[in-house]
């Protein structure tokens, strides 16, 4: 799917001296700061976009560390309490004969978040430093990251459901551990990082004549 042909000159809003409202889609002449129709702030390129991406990304990483080291679930039964971290629980599941579930947990809780961090960092990096990779594939990557973001909370959902269902007082209690909050924060931060990314920047590199921002 050759959506972009580097050799073919493309008329962009910017080259046409227009700026599009990101909210309602109305095109305004360059220099307009506020959308006359919906009142949203308009800018041809968001100059602070990359900064915000990096800021959210760093916050996400910081939140992700305790999500891995702290216990995700605290299970108290009659015979004692048990605390399990994400990786520890997955390893336990693997050892006790459920490699499938262990794999799912590992992919959902470790693989995907880590991949997201990598993707966002890669996109932000290539936008500011330039790359040989095609803008089309990078745009596709961005869309995937955006799409997956909303499903990353599935771990937190599982913990929330368990914690609310398994409450038998003395017999058995499941409470979310500190990792669940950290994990949720990490997911939110990465989603915000992905959202902060101005995907239009991907395409700017196509025309070297155009100014960077």
């Amino acid at each position: 799917m050759e959506r972009a042909h580097p050799k073919t000159p493309v008329l962009t809003a910017r080259s046409a001296n227009l700026v599009g409202c990101g909210h309602c889609g109305e095109a305004w002449p360059m220099g307009t700061t506020r959308c006359g129709r919906c009142g949203a702030r308009v800018a041809s390129r968001d100059p602070a976009s990359l900064q915000r991406v990096w800021a959210w990304w760093v916050a996400g990483i910081i939140a992700y560390i305790p999500a891995l080291t702290e216990p995700m679930l605290v299970t108290r039964t009659l015979l004692g309490s048990e605390q399990s971290t994400i990786v520890g629980g997955a390893i336990e599941l693997f050892v006790y004969g459920s490699p499938g579930i262990a794999l799912i947990i590992l992919i959902a809780s470790v693989g995907i978040p880590v991949a997201k961090f990598g993707c966002i960092a890669y996109l932000a990096w290539t936008v500011s430093k330039g790359t040989q990779a095609s803008p089309g594939s990078r745009n596709a990557l961005y869309e995937v990251v955006e799409y997956i973001g909303r499903w990353s909370m599935i771990d937190v959902f599982v913990v929330a459901i368990l914690a609310s269902l398994v409450q038998f007082n003395a017999v058995a209690t499941v409470t979310p551990g500190p990792a669940s909050l950290a994990f949720a924060l990490s997911v939110v931060f990465t989603m915000l990082a992905a959202q902060s990314f101005d995907s239009r920047l991907i395409w700017d590199g196509l025309d070297p004549a155009e100014p960077g921002r």
């Binding site: 002449p29 360059m30 220099g31 006359g36 602070a48 800021a55 916050a59 009659l78 309490s81």
Partner: protein, 700 residues
């Protein structure tokens, strides 16, 4: 909607840093700050890590088992490992920071597990939650000590409790139970710790706690007794079943009471004896005056049975104590062999030693001095019948040097002396053994053989003929014995012997006077009488052959006389005659006779006095009369001898019919042998007299 494109705003120059940097950067900064703060706080709140060593880490789990103080969690087990040589389990516990300073040297740790004992069920909560470690420490924060040693069981005095710590010693018949309550008027005021044995295994002891404020109830006049179990007594008041409570019936317990007021308050670590019942406890208070006791150990080499607990200990015959315990011990290292020895604990009442200062130390000093002087402990018989023993402290003069070992554990050791035991049982046993060893079977066999022989003998014709022979023999014997000559014989023999004795006495007197007469001094004066004396001597000497003749006759007759005497069982006479024969003088006569004669001759040659000769003449006259008596006696002998010979022949005939081995035959033969011996003796006398007639005169 608008047709014209507005002018692009142109901004020149540097924008401020706030404009260039996105506000979003605050988010990661905040996140970082928060995490750093959390990390710092958790590090700051972390208490110190202590290590507690246990024998067993029953149920302790890393990261789960809690440390509790007064049932509040104050720590968590972080690690369970082993000590260097795997000897103990080392449990690392992360303490809460705020209590860390209280975990000082006196802190105690023990593992709480579910326990079902006669005292009840404890630690039930740990069945579900798992064990926890409980700790106890005092109220003084003396600084953290990181290494501790866990105890096996909960201490008697929990944290925050105060009380009096005592040491209870089990008296005879008392069984101390760990954890049992101490009651006073039915109220639990204390608790007994786990009992343990002393080093030598003789006494069971137990720590005990009387909780405050009841500790002031205990004084030196307090007595403890065992309330476990029940007593049943049947007396004038009817049957009585007595037990303190169902709890103590099952679990055991100790009660105490102070019967007499005025005792000094007990101090920590005071020793008390637990009596078997209340009566014993109360009477003990009046029996002894409450003075201190002195414990001694005595190890007896001999291992006798019969020494029991409660046996008296005597010092100089006075009971000063009793045996508290009796044990057999085998200690290769201490004694160098594997013999079983009797190790006894003696309890002495120092007040009964009669010392002015009745303390244990004074008593030990006293005993020490006595032991150096030879005092020893030894076993003696208390009762011959039962074989019971008691211990006596007695001075043994020839005892080897020994000292009182005052440093011995658990009590001073007193040296011992060999036991003095008259062992009736051993003697009786010996008798039985001897009876057992009697050759009963051989005897029976011999008896059977004898009876068989006897039967055969009685059936024999020879034996049938014996009665007739025997009757003849008896008649002969009767004839012999009833002969008047024989009846008169003993008297005559006596006379003879008396005469002979008188004669020899006279002769001795003469010889003495001759010896004593200082002949040499009188030589000159006596010379004049020499001729006269010589003629007198000649006459005297002429008379001697006649005497010898007569004596020979006597001897010849005496041979027969001896036989008759024996037949008449005139044993006295024979004995007298034998005495005469065996007289030293008679025996040595032959060898000395020559010398005697020479002496006599010398004496006679030297005789200057007529008195001696006159005496001699008188003596010779006596001898003559003696000879006459013998002659008279001997005159009757031939007839007797003839009869006796006849009898002997008859007897021989009669005995010939008997079995060779029969008792009768043996006895008869022995009698005959005796007769022959006697005859031979008489013969010898006669022969001697024949050869040396002077012998009878000189009495040699």
């Amino acid at each position: 909607m608008t047709d014209r494109i507005p002018e692009l705003p142109v901004s020149n120059g540097r924008r401020s840093i706030l404009e260039r940097v996105s506000i979003v950067w605050l988010v990661p900064l905040a996140a970082l700050a928060v995490s750093l703060w959390v990390a710092w706080q958790s590090y700051n709140d972390r208490g110190p890590l202590i290590e507690v060593e246990f024998e067993q880490a029953t149920g302790i789990r890393q990261g789960e088992t809690e440390l509790k103080f007064r049932d509040v969690p104050v720590g968590l087990v972080e690690d369970v490992g082993f000590s260097d040589a795997l000897e103990t389990v080392r449990v690392s516990i992360r303490l809460d920071k705020d209590i860390a300073d209280f975990v000082d040297d006196d802190a105690e740790f023990w593992i709480v597990q579910p326990e079902v004992t006669t005292q009840g069920v404890s630690g039930l909560d740990t069945v579900l939650s798992g064990v926890f470690i409980e700790a106890s420490w005092d109220r003084a924060p003396d600084g953290l000590v990181t290494t501790h040693r866990g105890t096996e069981s909960a201490p008697l005095l929990r944290s925050g409790q105060s009380g009096l710590s005592l040491r209870l010693t089990a008296g005879p018949g008392v069984q101390l139970t760990g954890g049992a309550p101490i009651l006073h008027k039915g109220v639990e005021v204390g608790r007994i710790g786990p009992p343990e044995l002393t080093v030598d295994g003789t006494v069971a002891r137990s720590e005990a706690i009387i909780f405050a404020p009841y500790d002031r109830l205990v004084s030196s006049n307090t007595r403890f007794w065992d309330t476990s179990g029940f007593t049943f007594s049947l007396g004038a008041n009817g049957a009585e079943l007595d037990f303190s409570s169902i709890a103590t019936l099952i679990a055991g317990g100790v009660a105490f009471d102070t019967v007499v007021s005025g005792g000094a308050p007990a101090s920590d670590g005071a020793d008390f004896v637990v009596f078997v019942d209340e009566g014993a406890a109360r009477s003990s208070l009046f029996q002894d005056d409450g003075g201190p006791v002195l414990n001694l150990t005595a190890v007896f080499e001999d291992n006798f049975s019969g020494l029991t607990v409660g046996a008296p200990v005597l010092l100089d015959g006075v009971t000063v104590g009793e045996v508290a315990n009796v044990n057999g011990i085998v200690d290769m290292d201490r004694f160098g062999d594997t013999n079983v020895r009797l190790s006894t604990s003696l309890v002495l009442r120092t007040s009964k030693l009669g010392l002015a200062e009745a303390t244990g130390e004074a008593a030990l000093d006293f005993l020490d001095a006595r032991v150096t002087a030879g005092l020893r402990a030894r076993l003696i018989s208390a009762s011959l019948l039962t074989g019971g023993l008691k211990v006596e402290l007695v001075d043994v003069p020839e005892a080897q040097d020994a000292v009182l070992d005052r440093d011995a554990e658990p009590f001073a050791v007193i040296p011992v002396a060999p036991a003095e035991i008259s062992d009736v049982s051993a003697t009786a046993e010996g008798v039985m053994e001897r009876i057992n060893n009697l050759p009963i079977e051989e005897l029976l066999e011999a008896a059977t053989t004898f009876l068989t022989s006897a039967t055969r003998l009685s059936d024999s014709d020879d034996l049938q003929a014996i009665p007739g022979d025997v009757r003849g023999l008896v008649a002969d014997l009767r004839g012999v014995t009833s002969a008047p000559e024989l009846q008169a014989l003993p008297g005559q023999a006596m006379e003879l012997i008396v005469d002979l004795q008188a004669l020899s006495g006279d002769l001795r007197g003469i010889a003495q006077s001759i010896e004593t007469a200082r002949a040499v001094e009188r030589v000159t004066a006596a010379i004049d009488a020499t001729t006269e004396a010589a003629s007198g001597v000649g006459a005297s000497v002429e008379g001697v052959p006649a005497l010898v003749e007569r004596l020979s006759a006597v001897a010849a007759n005496a041979e027969a006389l001896e036989l008759q005497t024996l037949v008449d069982e005139a044993t006295e006479t024979v004995t007298a005659a034998r005495g005469l024969l065996q007289d030293d003088g008679t025996k040595t006569l032959p060898t000395r006779l020559g010398a005697a004669l020479a002496e006599l001759e010398a004496a006679l040659a030297e005789l200057r006095t007529g008195g001696a000769v006159t005496n001699l003449n008188a003596a010779l006259a006596s001898a003559n009369s003696a000879g006459a008596a013998v002659e008279a006696a001997a005159a009757d002998l031939p007839g007797v001898i003839a009869r006796l010979e006849q009898m002997t022949t008859d007897a021989s005939d009669a005995f010939a019919g008997f079995d060779e081995d029969s008792e009768l035959n043996r006895t008869a033969r022995a009698a005959l042998r005796d007769l022959q011996d006697a005859a031979r003796a008489i013969e010898q006398l006669a022969r001697t007299l024949e050869r040396n007639p002077n012998a009878i005169i000189l009495g040699r």
